[in-house]
Structures are given as structure tokens and as C-alpha cells.
């Protein structure tokens, strides 16, 4: 590995950028391990195309990350997830006065959004890209980015409302601007 020039170049690149990319991957998948899995898959694609890359490897990697995250990356088992959450909902809350910060709650709710909405919100509010830049990364029309972001934010309000009823630990969480 150390003698492989591709790997050396990649290691230099990752030494600078891996931390940020890893955080993005975690936000897109919702967990450290799934994020690592996603980033590793994206990196493997990057290696495959490394010699043919003409421009910015980070741009390529970012696009690959978002495309993998929005194409249904590991979406199987929804029912299992749903059932486990339902099961959890039937049990007494172990620590009902646990500190649940609104910001933390918002991210938890965001992780329940469909992958495309989540990807747009991460690009817009984590990467702080404009709508035009977001459209460029995802290869979507700008209008689609705009409407997807709006739907995602709307869904956050709806989900927050649902969580208030389902999870007493979140009962005090109210979004500013949330519809009654």
C-alpha cells in the first residue's frame, strides 16, 4: 500500500480533508459506523477513477457521497426499524428528565427524513452551499433543490410535532415557527 502512488496521493488528500468528509458522511447516514461505511465506499470509487480525475477530487468525492446517500444506500429493513421504535415507545422512559437539547432533537428528526431531503439539508446548512451550488453537486435543477429543501424543513416541523406526542422525553421540544 505504501508503495502505491495512488494510495500515497490519496492519503495526503485524506490527511487534510478526511475529518470533514467523515462528519458529512455521519450526518448523511445518522451513525458513525454507517458513515464510515459510506465514506469507504465513496473512497473506493474515488480510487477506481483517481487516474482519470481531471479536477478537484474533493468535489468528486462529495458528489459520490451524496449520490450514494440518496440512491437508497442501505434503506432495507425499514419495517424492522419502525417496529423497534414502536417497541421502544411501549416501554417506560428510563430517564424522562434527560437533557434533550432542541438542536440535538432537530438533528435526530432530520435523520428520519427521506435520503434526498436529508442530503439537501446537509448541503445547505452543513456545507453552507447556495441553492445553485447544491444543485450542481446533486446534478438536479435548482428548483428541485429549492422545493426539496422546503419540503424537508416542513417535514421537520411535522416530525417534531409527532415526536412530541410519541416521546415524552421530547415533549418540551417546540420549534420556533412551528404550526399549532
Amino acid at each position: 500500500m505504501a508503495d502505491d502512488p495512488t494510495a500515497r496521493e490519496l492519503e495526503f488528500f485524506l490527511a487534510e480533508r478526511a475529518g470533514r468528509l467523515m462528519r458529512t458522511a455521519v450526518l448523511l447516514t445518522g451513525s458513525h459506523d454507517a458513515g464510515q461505511d459510506l465514506l469507504q465506499t465513496a473512497l473506493e470509487r474515488l480510487i477506481r477513477h483517481w487516474r482519470r480525475l481531471d479536477g478537484d477530487p474533493e468535489g468528486y468525492l462529495l458528489r459520490t457521497l451524496y449520490n450514494l446517500a440518496t440512491d437508497g444506500f442501505r434503506r432495507r429493513g425499514r419495517l424492522q426499524r419502525k417496529l423497534l421504535l414502536m417497541r421502544a415507545g411501549t416501554q417506560p422512559i428510563a430517564d424522562p428528565i434527560a437533557e434533550v437539547d432542541l438542536r440535538d432533537a432537530l438533528v435526530r428528526l432530520m435523520l428520519q427524513l427521506p435520503a434526498r431531503q436529508r442530503a439537501v439539508l446537509v448541503l445547505r446548512y452543513w456545507e453552507q452551499l447556495t441553492e445553485a451550488e447544491t444543485a450542481d453537486v446533486l446534478g438536479w435543477p435548482e428548483g428541485t433543490v429549492k422545493s426539496t429543501a422546503a419540503r424537508g424543513l416542513q417535514r421537520l416541523r411535522e416530525l417534531a410535532d409527532g415526536w412530541n406526542h410519541a416521546d415524552p422525553a421530547l415533549a418540551h421540544v417546540k420549534l420556533r415557527g412551528q404550526h399549532a
Binding site: L10, L21, Q40, L83, M86, R87, Q91, L121, Y125
Partner: protein
């Protein structure tokens, strides 16, 4: 949109990932994964010699000095990989698990994975815990299906949620994640060995060198050879861990193969989640495998069924 919410979301994302750092050796792992995939492609190009050699290397590395046993495992895994790569039959896997049954039909690029509502009622207690509540009319009914459909002769990806009567189509066909990582389906807390593409999963699983022991076991009165994987333990995703009030999950799996054809006949996986206030919970999945002739009727079952009247929606609608 209230700008406060945008700011809070941005802060929340910062906080959520503030302890996240990239693991060391990420480039090395990706390069290794790349090499493995290249090797798998070579294997699928029907080079029996390559299969045997790569399997020996993989398993000897795991088994260390026990060369006699390692060679046996290597020979066995190479035979299984060859058998799985070269067969031309319809794969049918029927899984029963703690979370309800599911079925996979697969042939070539076509596949259909159907997930059913559990048959247990809402008051059933498993491992000392009360199970979920859901409408009784759903009991045993199909909940969702994922796989492929043919639209105008073209193969497309499809996902259907039956209770919602909605589906979406995608230009991308279902893919199998790397079996070499510790994630797989673990992130969802479900049984580790549920896959749309079993052939690919088995192929990758054995290529990872994960098998460690073998033995002869009778399954339904028929003698099989057992390949056991090494247990894997990972930490649950923080949000998910909070929801189920547990911290860790340990996964085990075993493959039972026909000693004559070397094709898998049963796959068993179990997960144990523990370390939180909910107490340890063990779930398991057993998949019985059949390899059927590729008749028209059997191949037809490898496509997802979308009932008439179902509404097509985009994936961003939550399907």
C-alpha cells in the same frame, strides 16, 4: 422558513458530529476493498484457479498456524464460492426472524425481497420484553418489497410499501453493500444476514476471510457442512441506541452448505443488543435456501409485484 430553525439545525449538526473523526487507515481500507472487488470480478470471470488461491490466502491469514484446518476451510470456501458463482438457478430464501418473516427471490440481476408484518400479536413477550403494537389486520401481510421490475422491457429498481399503496421506481438496481465491513444491515439493528442479493453477499462474505471453523451438521435430516463466521461487535448509532435504549450489538452468522453441490441450504444469523437500560435483547434470523430451475414461472417471481391502483411517488415522498 424561520431563520432560527435553520441556525439551530446548523448548530445541531456541528454538535452531533463534534466528536467524529476519520478513522486511521481509511485510504488503506478503501484500497483494500478496491483490490478485493477486483479479485471478486476476476473470480466471477470463471477462473477457478484464482478462486482457490485467493480463498487460501484469505483463510490462512485468519487461521494462523492451524494450517491443516485452514486448508480445509480454504478448500471448502473456494468450492462454495465456485458453486455460487457458476450456478444458473433461481435463488429462494425464506427467512424467519424475531422481527417477522421475509422472502427473497433472485435470478441474475432480477430480485424481489418482501418483508412481512410479524405474525405475533402485540402482547407477545420475547426475551422478557413486550413486543410492538400494530393493527391486527396487517398480521402476516406483506409490508414492503424491494427489488426489480420491468418497465417497457427495461429492468428498473422498485420499492413498494403495501399498506400505503405507494411505490417508486429508480434507474438504479438494488446493490449489495460490502460484507467485509462490520455494518451491513447492522445499522438498522436487524438480523445481520438479510440481503437482496444473497449470491453477492455470500461471495463477499467468504472473500473477506471471515469463516473460521467447519463441521458437519444435519439440517432437516440432511447432512450439511457448517461454516461459522467470527462474531462481530459494533456500537449502535447514537440516535438509534437512544431509541432502543441499548448501546452495543454483537452479530454471529453461520452458513450450512450441501456437501455435494456446495450450495448454501441454510443461513443463520443472530444479533444481541445490550449495554443500555433496556437490557440485553437477542434476535435471530434463519433463512432456508432453495435453488430452483429457471422456469418462466420461477423467474417471474424474481420481479417486484406492484398491484394495480398503487400510486407512483418519488423517493423524496418517503417511499
Amino acid at each position: 422558513m424561520n431563520t432560527d430553525v435553520e441556525g439551530l439545525l446548523r448548530d445541531g449538526m456541528e454538535r452531533f458530529t463534534e466528536d467524529v473523526s476519520a478513522p486511521a487507515g481509511l485510504a488503506r481500507a478503501a484500497a483494500s476493498l478496491h483490490r478485493r472487488r477486483v479479485a471478486i470480478r476476476a473470480t466471477l470471470a470463471s477462473s477457478a484457479a484464482v478462486v482457490a488461491v485467493s480463498a487460501v490466502i484469505a483463510v490462512v491469514a485468519v487461521a494462523g498456524p492451524q494450517s491443516g484446518r485452514a486448508q480445509t476451510v480454504a478448500y471448502l470456501t473456494s468450492q462454495v464460492r465456485q458453486a455460487v458463482a457458476s450456478e444458473n438457478m433461481v435463488y429462494v430464501g425464506r427467512t424467519t426472524s424475531t422481527y417477522g418473516p421475509s422472502t427473497v427471490w433472485a435470478y441474475g440481476q432480477q430480485s424481489q425481497w418482501v418483508e412481512y408484518w410479524p405474525t405475533a400479536d402485540g402482547n407477545q413477550v420475547v426475551n422478557g420484553q413486550r413486543q410492538w403494537d400494530f393493527p391486527p389486520q396487517y398480521r402476516g401481510q406483506a409490508y414492503s418489497a424491494e427489488g426489480t421490475v420491468r418497465v417497457g422491457g427495461k429492468l428498473m429498481g422498485a420499492y413498494v410499501i403495501y399498506p400505503d399503496q405507494k411505490y417508486n421506481l429508480s434507474g438504479q438496481l438494488p446493490t449489495q453493500g460490502s460484507a467485509c465491513t462490520t455494518m451491513g444491515d447492522l445499522e438498522l439493528g436487524g438480523p445481520a444476514v438479510v440481503s437482496v442479493n444473497w449470491k453477492s453477499f455470500i461471495e463477499q462474505m467468504l472473500a473477506c476471510g471471515a469463516a473460521s471453523t467447519t463441521g458437519r451438521v444435519r439440517v432437516d435430516g440432511v447432512e450439511t457442512t457448517k461454516i461459522t463466521g467470527k462474531p462481530v461487535t459494533v456500537r449502535l448509532a447514537p440516535a438509534y441506541g437512544r431509541a432502543v435504549r441499548e448501546k452495543w450489538v454483537t452479530v454471529r452468522w453461520a452458513l450450512y452448505v450441501n456437501p455435494v453441490t456446495y450450495l448454501p441450504v441454510r443461513i443463520v444469523g443472530s444479533t444481541k443488543t445490550y449495554g443500555g437500560s433496556a437490557g440485553a435483547t437477542i434476535s435471530s434470523a434463519t433463512t432456508n435456501v432453495q435453488w430452483l430451475r429457471p422456469t418462466k414461472a420461477n423467474i417471474a417471481k424474481t420481479l417486484v409485484t406492484i398491484p394495480p391502483g398503487f400510486q407512483q411517488v418519488s423517493s423524496q415522498a418517503g417511499v
